[in-house]
């Protein structure tokens, strides 16, 4: 009886684990299978062709890849320094009571559903950005092509980047905070005893010993920004051209799938093209996640040696 029970429990647990692995493999297969019509028609040219004309059965992901890269990197560029600063504040500066209050709030920021953030983005953030921030940036930094003249509508790559920044910050901040807390107190005290100021302790001890982990956290944040569909769809004006200016419309891989999914059901090639976008997204996401794991593993290794 007991031996039988052990076997059953083992069997059920192993089955669940196997099911998890199977689901992931099946997911990869299904996405590529769904993309098959588009892959056989367009091949790899799909990746750099920028024309997207469903009525003429012409599809290309070029402008979407561009839009995805611009919005995600903007989110990372703005979000990562802020997130690391928050993590430093929470792990090294804040008294325990303040940390206990602010940590959950930062995590709560990650819990806001993207559809609510996107809705807030259209009605509150976009008008503000359009009326105040964009004209200001254009006037002061307009000589850089990035900050071109604002368009008539509020939807812009810039607003989408800001929304993604808000989404990326809590992810990077909470992982980095946990990393900074693992830096041994003695090393920090040793640096202080040598006369280092607080900032020098951070720059000379805390950041170097956690750098790879922080980079891994940034990659995870970037993965989140790349795959966000809903909020980006809401604030980004579904443009199909490549612009140098951040203040014009654009579109991303994930957002295009969300916008046009219902219309695409009519044509297998159209649907296949959206699945093709999904496949690209899947591969990019996989690379970033594996990269984050690989870098994070190196971090573990260094910590053990030290």
């Amino acid at each position: 009886m007991d031996r039988f029970g052990d076997r059953v429990l083992y069997g059920v647990c192993a089955f669940a684990a196997l099911l998890g692995v199977t689901v992931l493999l099946l997911l990869g297969y299904q996405v590529f299978h769904g993309a098959a019509p588009a892959i056989s028609k367009f091949g790899l040219g799909f990746l750099y062709k920028t024309s997207w004309q469903p009525n003429f059965h012409i599809f290309g992901a070029g402008s979407l890849l561009f839009g995805t890269a611009v919005t995600s990197f903007m989110a990372l560029l703005l979000g990562a320094p802020i997130a690391v600063a928050i993590a430093l504040f929470l792990s090294l500066l804040a008294p325990a009571g303040v940390r206990g209050m602010i940590s959950p709030l930062v995590e709560m920021l990650a819990a806001i559903p993207s559809v609510i953030l996107g809705f807030w983005g259209i009605l509150i953030l976009a008008p503000f950005v359009h009326e105040h921030l964009e004209p200001f940036l254009h006037e002061t930094l307009g000589f850089i092509p990035l900050f071109g003249p604002p368009e008539t509508t509020g939807a812009s790559v810039f607003t989408a980047g800001l929304i993604l920044t808000i989404m990326v910050i809590p992810i990077i901040a909470s992982i980095s905070r946990d990393l900074f807390l693992t830096v041994p107190r003695e090393i920090q005290d040793a640096a202080s005893a040598l006369g280092a100021t607080r900032w020098e302790v951070v720059r000379g001890v805390v950041l170097p010993s956690t750098a790879s982990g922080v980079v891994a956290a940034m990659l995870l944040g970037l993965g989140r920004a790349l795959g966000e569909a809903i909020a980006v769809t809401q604030v980004l004006g579904a443009g199909s051209e490549i612009h140098t200016s951040l203040f014009r419309t654009g579109d991303t891989l994930a957002a295009r799938i969300a916008e046009q999914f219902t219309e695409s059901l009519a044509s297998p090639l159209y649907l296949g093209s959206l699945f093709y976008l999904g496949a690209i997204l899947l591969v990019i996401g996989l690379i970033f996640n594996l990269g984050a794991r690989w870098i994070g593993r190196r971090f573990d290794y260094q910590r053990k040696v030290a």
Binding site: D6, P113, S114, I116, L117
Partner: protein, 292 residues
């Protein structure tokens, strides 16, 4: 006669020159870090404040009970249905996977299962939607259960990881006591280990529910062709739900719709905040119990 290099011993002890510069840099960095934290909190406050104030205008009993265009009753029921079903699928599987990782798996196998869970956690939710669409919906119709399975895939890694962390927290002495009494493995797991980790497992599940309740992208693909005016309890058909309601209303430029969307956002956000807070309280209580 005093030499020029000897400092005046009566001067006050204030840093000067290089040290002063370093201290100013440090002070600036500290201020920057504090401001960054305040900025994050400010964004959170602004977003929740807007949703709460604008949403409160829409709230009324009628709003919570009736269907479109007066209210979002059917969407509330639909979200409850789709999330409940997803939890029923994901919770047992997540716990079993966590048990497999902590109790049974060798290093190699555990590594690959953990990798699977990490990758699943990093999947963009819209891709999960595409997957289930290809698997279950293509050539068929949108349905609640298809949406639930997609949400379950999103919840699974969260529950598995949270449960695993809590299973590892169960003191080894408990297990050894059971072993000493000659209790078999499966009885130890079911009567000793699982019950003492239960609080943590429930916490992880609540956080996963909070996450799933707000997911929109999979439902857009799997559970969106609906009649927002009618209650639907049939899981083989599509049912209205809150995230899709907000999404659809936000895409139409209709001020009345916006008010309804804020109201729906209020209901969704309130649920998510309560679930997260509840999970946090439970976690704190559980940690205390484990520590004592």
């Amino acid at each position: 006669m005093t030499g020029a290099g000897v400092p005046d011993p009566t001067a006050p002890l204030t840093p000067s020159g290089n040290l002063r510069r370093r201290q100013i840099v440090s002070r600036l960095a500290e201020t920057g870090a504090t401001l960054a934290a305040l900025l994050a909190v400010a964004v959170l406050v602004i977003v929740t404040y807007t949703v709460l104030v604008r949403g409160a205008n829409a709230l009324s009993l009628e709003f919570l009970v009736k269907g479109e265009p007066a209210g979002i009753g059917p969407a509330i029921v639909g979200t409850a249905l789709v999330v409940a079903l997803a939890t029923v699928i994901a919770m047992p599987l997540g716990i079993l996977i966590a048990l497999y990782l902590t109790e049974f798996a060798g290093n190699r196998l555990a590594g690959s299962v953990r990798l699977t869970m990490d990758l699943m956690n990093g999947l963009p939710s819209i891709i999960v939607g595409l997957f289930i669409f290809g698997l279950l919906v293509y050539h068929h119709q949108d349905s609640v259960y298809a949406g639930s399975i997609a949400l379950a895939i999103i919840m699974l890694p969260l529950i598995a990881r949270g449960s695993q962390e809590n299973l590892l927290l169960v003191p080894g002495s408990l297990r050894e006591a059971a072993d000493a009494l000659g209790v078999s493995r499966w009885r130890t797991v079911l009567t000793v280990i699982l019950p003492s980790a239960l609080g943590g497992i429930v916490t992880a599940t609540m956080l996963a529910v909070a996450r799933a309740a707000g997911e929109t992208a999979p439902l857009l693909i799997l559970d969106s062709i609906v009649n927002n005016a009618k209650y639907s309890f049939n899981i083989t058909e599509a049912a209205p739900n809150i995230p899709m309601t907000i999404y659809q209303l936000s895409e139409e430029a209709n001020p009345e719709g916006f008010t309804r969307a804020w109201g729906a956002g209020f209901v969704l956000l309130a649920f998510i905040v309560l679930a997260s807070l509840g999970a946090r309280v439970l976690l704190a209580r559980n940690r205390r119990k484990m520590a004592s």
